[in-house]
Symmetry: D2
Amino acid sequence: MKAVIKAAAVPGLELRTVADPVPAEGEVILKILSTSLCGTDSHIYQWDNWAQQRIHPPRILGHEMYGEIVAVAKGVTTVQVGDRVAAESHVTCGKCFQCRTGNAHVCKNYKIMGIDRDGSFAEYVALPEQVCWKTAPEIPSDLACLQESLGNSVHAVLTEDVTGHTILVTGCGPTGLFAIAVARTAGAATIFATDISEYRLELARRVGADLAFNPQKADPSVILDQTSGEGVDAALEMSGHPTSIHMCFKYVKNAGRVVLFGIPSANVALDVANEIIFKGIRVHGITGRRLFETWYRLGGLFRAGLDIRPILTHTLPLEEFDKGFDLIHSGQCGKVVMIP
Amino acid sequence: MKAVIKAAAVPGLELRTVADPVPAEGEVILKILSTSLCGTDSHIYQWDNWAQQRIHPPRILGHEMYGEIVAVAKGVTTVQVGDRVAAESHVTCGKCFQCRTGNAHVCKNYKIMGIDRDGSFAEYVALPEQVCWKTAPEIPSDLACLQESLGNSVHAVLTEDVTGHTILVTGCGPTGLFAIAVARTAGAATIFATDISEYRLELARRVGADLAFNPQKADPSVILDQTSGEGVDAALEMSGHPTSIHMCFKYVKNAGRVVLFGIPSANVALDVANEIIFKGIRVHGITGRRLFETWYRLGGLFRAGLDIRPILTHTLPLEEFDKGFDLIHSGQCGKVVMIP
Amino acid sequence: MKAVIKAAAVPGLELRTVADPVPAEGEVILKILSTSLCGTDSHIYQWDNWAQQRIHPPRILGHEMYGEIVAVAKGVTTVQVGDRVAAESHVTCGKCFQCRTGNAHVCKNYKIMGIDRDGSFAEYVALPEQVCWKTAPEIPSDLACLQESLGNSVHAVLTEDVTGHTILVTGCGPTGLFAIAVARTAGAATIFATDISEYRLELARRVGADLAFNPQKADPSVILDQTSGEGVDAALEMSGHPTSIHMCFKYVKNAGRVVLFGIPSANVALDVANEIIFKGIRVHGITGRRLFETWYRLGGLFRAGLDIRPILTHTLPLEEFDKGFDLIHSGQCGKVVMIP
Amino acid sequence: MKAVIKAAAVPGLELRTVADPVPAEGEVILKILSTSLCGTDSHIYQWDNWAQQRIHPPRILGHEMYGEIVAVAKGVTTVQVGDRVAAESHVTCGKCFQCRTGNAHVCKNYKIMGIDRDGSFAEYVALPEQVCWKTAPEIPSDLACLQESLGNSVHAVLTEDVTGHTILVTGCGPTGLFAIAVARTAGAATIFATDISEYRLELARRVGADLAFNPQKADPSVILDQTSGEGVDAALEMSGHPTSIHMCFKYVKNAGRVVLFGIPSANVALDVANEIIFKGIRVHGITGRRLFETWYRLGGLFRAGLDIRPILTHTLPLEEFDKGFDLIHSGQCGKVVMIP
């Protein structure tokens, strides 16, 4: 089969013909119908410090996927050939304290598709049964692979109830855009969004931000003006930029909450006293998706009318993966989906 | 001023001319712009057993109100003449355990407007400052008086997060209809609604129920069919009917929740083992509005697009209060608003 | 091996010699060191209506157990020969909605040891790896089998935080006594306990009840006297008796919580309006143990000093099971442990 | 009356004779029976930068107090002459969003006794009725003034349930010591405590720490050794030192929580990705006491057996305030109480 592979410890990726995957006991073979690019893939493409430590070539990339099951190995009982499924990308151990107490999303031994084992930038992938997520046929094939990424935002937004609450989303990359769309569907009162890219601010408005602005050009204190001087009930940090992190702490109201999802590239000097303690706030560190509560909620959000179509801005054949990464590096895109 | 008054311990109400109210220290005078009928008023009108125990005539009825402040007494600091406000109907003591621990909605000493002191079925009413709720000018005057009643439903629906959840609402009287509208705005996945009145089922569909049906005519097990056999995440009982209460316990999923708001007229024989214990569910008894969290959430829901207009089916001059109660007794109405 | 078995669909049990169990893939063989009697076993012994519907003889009874692993089948990875373990008695499916969202204790497909498959009233039992709970060597062997039963009470008591709270426990059978001991260790402010057996009230006092009384002889309103007229923060119903259920609803404070664990033998007529709705309380239906959070908490409670020794009142050889059931029927006991 | 006063904008305090306080409407006069020193008082004594910005001399210091009401002004209804009360030190506005939604501890307009108005280092103090906390006569007079300070720790420890949980407390000053005592009473499984003062580590052991150590001398990884490699469920930061803050983030388990109470004197550079996000933890900023839930819980903890006597290490006459501050600066003390 054809696959996009990190063949050696150098920047870039290659399209190669490789052997078809063979499923182990308890695994299935998924024929990929759609697979999307993530910032993590971009780090591996560019071969930055993090990637050099984490990835052991050769490795087929890709952890956001949707497809049809074409084979099942011994021991598989919950899915069958013909099922259309997305995949939870974290293969958890099921045995650690976290897995046994409802917090498998921070399993200490998890393996990630496309990083610790071969992923979905290919025609086929082998997948443990436990991570298959049957997807309602109403979800279009090209959007269905986005559920893994969307799930991060669902987890972040719904950490606490947002209905009727004022929300700030800093960073309008794909997870920020998903967060806005989810908060809109969830009945947030007012959604503020910030980014420095006008392209992405426009997307933010399309998916439901009430006020999307570039904080380098407009004064963020408009947030106070529009919240009776209170600030927001919840600030969702989806960018990883220190300026945005501080903005979240500044504009969250006393007794509110800050949700941290974006990964900073370096340490951040926080005024712990004034940014956290005296405000009496909660800070939630968010990673991955709650297994599998987030996936169920995500299915419910689609039924509630969640529309993520505007966030899928580009669809490419698998062969044009280089173009996909160029788009991501340019920032002039939402999600980029590839079709093998 | 003119006022609708329970003048004596007999059925019915009378329109009378009475003295204008005089505000005590810390109180304001509200000129009523709109006031709505509630099931409680209907009990008092009919003078049933409950009303005979609870009401001491003469009493001006009415606890759902909106108006303009036309006078403020000594000690008032947070509102002023000209403010347009709705009123929380429960005047709480501020000193009991519940009031001091964030649960003033179950204050053990609260007084209710229109029951324990004169209410809003009049041109003017005296109101303690603490229960005035400044209302955004975007809320139309005739809808603004409905906030008190709507608040019950906001409290009931948002007891736990409903976003992406499946919901059953039993009883499509006004609080049931409000509950459906709130759940819709909050991003509920699927909303089932039941009533025996086709008029109210049609209203339920208009405000967002996905499937509204008469359980005497259609088999409620459709709820299981449409929830993968699970039942709903949350069942909201808004009718007080034993059949509906049992339906909530039957169709809530294991580990789900039942919210009880409707008041049964007699004891209900529950199969505590199978309806509650073995299902591992939570049951929430809901009364009133959380002070004042529910009111803030309610304001946020309006900004999120909550539309309760379809639920206001009749508007009458105050003088036609008898017609209003006839409508309520007929069941061919949503909310009935009176304009003094 | 020798085993206590329900050999036929008639009252009573028999001691028989049966074939040693053979472990399936993923299972272990446990040599039983201690096993305790539960009310459920008593129902099966007496062969009441429930038992006749539920049990398909022949069946080895027993679901509360502790022992040493003497053999492991293929696929077992988390325990090994020589490990000393107790057992979670509910073998859950791992695939249903509840299992996948952290609520496996209400798995819709669970099998119970000693009911749906052979149990621990024997020298050996076959046990799925997933339900083995490694037990700290500090826990004495005769107490270690009580963890399953104790876990019910840990689950019930810690549904919400009890530290500094006033508590009522109705019913001082073993799970009630465990609940008292747990609440005491958890720093409950005042623990009221009721039962009609003076033997059990005395045990209640020994494990930490501040005021244990027979409500047929003493006026329960002493609870109000000793709580500033408020009632308790949490009422834990551990008996299943209607009188006790009503007592819980009566003496819980507004905005408090009632935890229902005891199984009534018939429907209970509740005054839903006054017992639940107007009090604004939460009612928690509790069954089993949260998997495996309750087990971790239970281990932590032992380290915190939880002492359940007084609740183990009788230890018998397995052969004297009839004497054990006689004790349970008499009510003159706490827990009864058998040693094969 | 005599009072300890910051008479001018210079270091130190003075004992002076001043006019007796006169209560405003809604206030009482408290005859001080005991009053304790806090770190905040020490900052004002030393006249550091913070104090110079915050305090406007002349000001009588003192916000931890206990005494007997000797006069009540007009409008007081909930306390009377002869009542013995402690005082909540934060006088909240009752009108802001936080006050109206159960979060008055982060009221945006609160005034602090002994900082914004005259305090308790005197024979008498005027006190708004709302902050009087009737104290059970069982609480000894010299301990009763410690409740305000203890309340901070109760708030911090009980932010989430600690029963059966492993706990790390960094910093064994008075609030750290109180936290240890509270966690012990609440049934924490294992309590680790760190400080660099052997005097305070010894106090930590006396009030219930299982393992109290100086992290400059002993390797903190002992925490992992004793928690199966997991780390603790909750890390409570009570020192404000950056090293301790990082220790909390390092030794909290995935999906655990960090409670920040100690105030750092400068910004802290956090590795937000690895310390918060990838661990999936919650961080709680804690200040003051929940009004008045914390006070009720505190009363319940005393009934549960909470013993804070070992933490009160020095009792002095008011005149020896200089000696009290010397003790605080030396670190060779727990709490220091003064008797006027």
